[in-house]
Amino acid sequence: MEETVRYAEATGLLGSVWLLVAIPLVSAAILLLLGRRADRWGHWLGVASIGAAFVLGLTYFFQLRGLENKSVERSLWDFIAVGDFKVDFGLLFDPLAAVFVLLITGVGFLIHLYAVEYMSHDPGRRRFFAYFNLFVAAMLLLVLGNNYVMLYFGWEGVGLASYLLISFWYERPTAATAGKKAFLMNRVGDAGLAIGIFIMFATLGTTQYDEVFNGVGGLAGGTVLVLGLLLLLGATGKSGQFPLQAWLPDAMEGPTPVSALIHAATMVTAGVYLIARSNPIFSANETLQLVVVSVGALTLLLGCIIGAAKDDIKRVLAWSTVSQIGYMFLGVGLGGGAYALAIVHLLAHGFFKANMFLGAGSVMHGMKDQVDIRRFGGLSKYMKITWITFATGWLAIIGIPPLSGYFSKEPIIAKAFERDDWTAWLFGGAAMLGAGLTAFYMTRLFVLTFHGPKRWTDDIEHPHESPKLMTIPLILLAVGSVAAGWLLSTSVPDWLTATAGLGGAEEGEAHGVLSHTVITILSILVTLIGAGLAWFLFRNGTATEPQPAGVLVTAARKNLYTDSFNEAVFEKPGIFLTRALVYLDSRGVDGLVNGLAAGVGGGSGRLRRLQTGFVRSYAMSILTGALLVVAAFLAVQAGWLA
């Protein structure tokens, strides 16, 4: 049942869909170029540009609803046209893109609003808003492009802006290191995506979504597998999934909960978007789907376990983000109708995670930037609004009905159990276990922060509630955390069905290993057990210093040794390569000739000069190279004769 993907030409109001990207971009440019002159009003320009983009997004959304073919593209100009290879600078507005646009601009608007107050004492606020706008513009370009090259544009732009945002508080060495780490890990993913795009170009001769999706059926299975794995590598990099998850929690060291949030609620969804968008590619190969599902299941457990051992409020939330995106990967990997469930979870997560991140910011605001949950306690009396809004986020993420997490997460768990072999138990079990663990560590976070005895540091006497500009976004998001799940799960899957090329939520018979009712009951039960256990253990607070712990907890505190893994796989070879090249470039060749006479003794000092500066060693290097090149030529020729 090959279905041809066809996009309609965008007409009328939808023809101006490029404004969505242009408005934040222009605003960022103005803020950067005007410099200090814009310090007094710059942040309001930033807020207004995102607000305008949101209103526009809504308008386009309603336009789209009235259309027959709900996928419209707007070609702006031929970006590259050489021979028969063409890259269109064009945008695609379809149900999937529309959903992301609303998420990015909607949540983005609230964060901007909140940041006006939160950053009010920071002399760099204007600059911060400029990067912020840049980020939103890049993110919108990412989800609006009508081909993979456009997606790559946005992808790179998001990476760049996030590097700037994470490095924003450069006074903290940790922030700089985190920026570097985020950058390097993302580059690994980016390389995957870039090579994937080149493979697409080599095998299909195009990168336009419709042509790629229509052509993928004709590709060899191996090619599809490689292509999909490369795209997946890109997705894991951006979305903080195994094996490239380590940067995301570190990035929470960045300036504020605000930037943490922009990552948690928007940037990390880019990977999910990529896989959802490329659904026809992933659906074409079962091994590929299995890999995506495995990555999701593994990461969701990883995030839960590590999250349970962390004491930094932002880090716990960061690891919970990693884990929740694991659920989304699980969903998109299951294929068929499940990918729509993943998008629902993504949207719902956007609300409750934003709610909790901003809540964490509000707590820090009142507690003199303390982030250690062992040093909170009893805050419910002092920050009523934050407490209540955070509670809705907490109940939503652990999946207590009828809050939003229940409606978005439970169907994914159920779907995982619907696989038709033993893997149903594996993945369903992992998802179920993850639900219990999530309940445990989120309850721990909530109880330690807002209840139990005060364990504050001595300099804090009266924590205060945050000003209105911060609490209003919190309240709005809390409403979303309560209601969004049900609304979304009843409307979004149908809406997404209209996305061309993405197989809709076909109503198949649920023939899972367990009946749906059993799964529902089980998952609620597991959640209650996890939450109850955490409440029982931490109701009286906890020690304010790290305690000796068993093997599992120690491992979890050390991020389950995944950092060591990354170090061994990415960092060490890189460092070795650099050293080796520096060595060869500086004195390797000279040293070869002089024997080791110069010896190791004077070695390091001279090594630092990078190049010896002696013409004779340069000439030697050229000669060696020349001999090698001549030898290689002759060797190739000899092989050719043989």
Partner: protein, 517 residues
């Protein structure tokens, strides 16, 4: 006595070359006869005028396809495209070279032998206006490059190689500031350049030997003969491959490909910055123009044999450039390693060995030339009392001091990093796409990976400029004179335009991508 047969000469097709060489001779005369205080203006004006006139004839020759002057010069699409590129980039470099308002007397010293900082040196700075010999030297070099990309036999190629190299060695030695460093760099460049030329010449001799004995042809080093010999020469192929390897070495040296790149950082750092800019942009075009012609016209018959070796060189070059750029602390050395890495990407385009590869490489050369000229233009502006402040630590917080120039430089660095909507992205995309088409996926994978590494040092500079507080030692950016400002703006605008709408130039390159044999 046999009748002497004169080769036919198409003067119109040779006009750009003749104009540049003629202008160089006129420049020497100007040195002799024009009074000192007028000399600078007259020289600069004459050089620019010559470049524009040559450019006019290049445009006028569009569509020309012929081999003239006894088979020595080929005028075809790639020749004209690359000549045009060299001339445009050289005009920008001349603007930088001619800048006098930033430093008294300009970047070049008239009597380099005077001890730096001495009483004599001070007097010299006040009295003589700085070296005006740089203009004829530059025009000679440009003339040599124009022949180099058009040369249709190996001897013409060798001679033009020397014609453009010798003035460059001299130019490198003329820095007013850090004079000893500059002279040391020139000495190194000269010694190593001569050394590499010897390889090239030896290669020519071996290839000549290989071409003897083909039925119905006399031996020779013109590309058509070599092409025929590759197909059916009775001589030992060892001659061919050893010769081809040695020729490649000579050219790769000029192109700054590893492991023949060792001179690059020292020379780029030591040479006066306008000359570095000229070398980074124009020498690159000339070297790759020659590489393209040698491998696409003369040796195309043995592509299977040279691609693995040159591919390895390309990967090594990208790796060395990218990885060592990470450890650099001097902006000029950083740009030197970036130039090495870019040589690697260009080689990927060359090795695609198809029409797209040819046009992509030519596009890349133009795009990179504009960006690198703009980058060095900014380097000439960031200075303190002791001249240019090239150590990277001095650039910290530059974004606060001079947001405008820091923003321009940031844009250029983003282009080098290959961020989309800059020419850095489109040009990389063009060569990588061509290489994929040509079946060289391994090179593309290496290229993508190294460009990911290479983005890091660039972005580190960006972050340093914008996110660090200016220190005590952060210099301010000098207000550029009109010439530097013009070169800088042209470079930045070209980087933007080629990034957003590369279509017209790509079409032009594509239309020009056919060699005459």
């Amino acid at each position: 006595m046999t009748e002497l047969k004169l080769p036919s000469i198409d003067y119109a097709a040779l006009a750009p070359i003749l104009i540049m060489l003629g202008a160089a001779l006129v420049g020497v005369l100007i040195e002799a006869f024009v009074p000192r205080r007028l000399r600078h203006a007259v020289q600069l004006g004459a050089a620019l005028l010559a470049v524009l006139a040559a450019l006019y004839f290049v445009v006028d020759n569009a569509g020309e396809r012929q081999i003239t002057i006894g088979g020595a010069i080929a005028v075809d699409g790639p020749t004209l495209f690359l000549q045009g590129a060299i001339l445009v980039l050289a005009a920008m470099a001349l603007l930088l070279i001619g800048e006098r308002s930033i430093e008294r007397g300009g970047a070049f010293v008239a009597q380099a032998a005077v001890v730096a900082g001495s009483e004599d040196d001070r007097r010299q700075a006040e009295e003589s206006g700085g070296a005006t010999e740089v203009y004829p030297l530059t025009t000679f070099a440009i003339g040599g490059m124009l022949i180099f990309v058009a040369a249709n036999d190996l001897l013409t190629m060798f001679i033009s190689l020397e014609v453009f190299s010798l003035p460059l060695y001299l130019l490198c030695a003329l820095a007013r500031r850090r004079r000893l460093l500059s002279q040391e760099a020139a000495m190194k460049y000269f010694l190593l350049g001569a050394y590499a030329s010897a390889f090239f010449l030896f290669g020519v001799a071996l290839v000549y030997g290989f071409t003897s004995g083909i039925p119905g042809r006399t031996a020779g080093v013109d590309f058509a003969t070599i092409h025929a010999a590759v197909a059916d020469s009775p001589s030992s192929p060892v001659l061919l491959y050893a010769g081809m390897a040695l020729l490649a070495i000579g050219l790769l040296f000029k192109a700054a490909a590893a492991p023949f790149h060792v001179w690059t950082p020292d020379v780029y750092q030591g040479a006066p910055t306008p000359v570095t800019a000229f070398m980074a942009a124009c020498t690159k075009v000339a070297a790759f123009g020659a590489l393209l012609r040698v491998f696409y016209v003369a040796f195309s018959g043995s592509a299977w044999n040279f691609t693995p070796v040159l591919g390895t060189v390309a990967i090594l070059t990208m790796l060395v450039g990218a990885v060592l750029a990470v450890t650099q602390t001097d902006i000029k050395r950083l740009l030197a390693y970036s130039s090495i890495a870019n040589a690697g990407y260009l080689l990927v385009g060359v090795l695609a060995l198809n029409k797209e590869g040819l046009s992509g490489t030519m596009f890349y050369l133009v795009a990179y030339g504009f960006s690198v000229l703009a980058a060095f233009a900014v380097v000439t502006l960031v200075r303190d009392a002791d001249g240019e402040a090239t150590h990277l630590s001095r650039w910290a917080g530059l974004g606060r001091r001079s947001p405008f120039f820091a923003a321009l430089f940031t844009f250029i660095l983003l282009a080098f990093a290959g961020i989309p909507l800059t020419s850095g992205f489109t040009s990389k995309f063009a060569v990588f796409g061509a290489a994929i088409e040509g079946g060289q996926s391994w090179l593309v994978i290496a290229g993508v990976l190294t460009s990911m590494i290479l983005a890091f040092p660039y972005l580190r500079v960006v972050v340093m400029m914008w996110l660090s507080e200016p220190g005590e030692s952060t210099p301010t950016v000098s207000v550029p004179g009109g010439l530097t400002a013009a070169a800088l703006m042209i470079g930045v605008l070209a980087t933007l335009v080629l990034g957003v709408a590369p279509g017209p130039l790509l079409d032009l390159a594509n239309g020009a991508a056919e060699f005459v044999r």
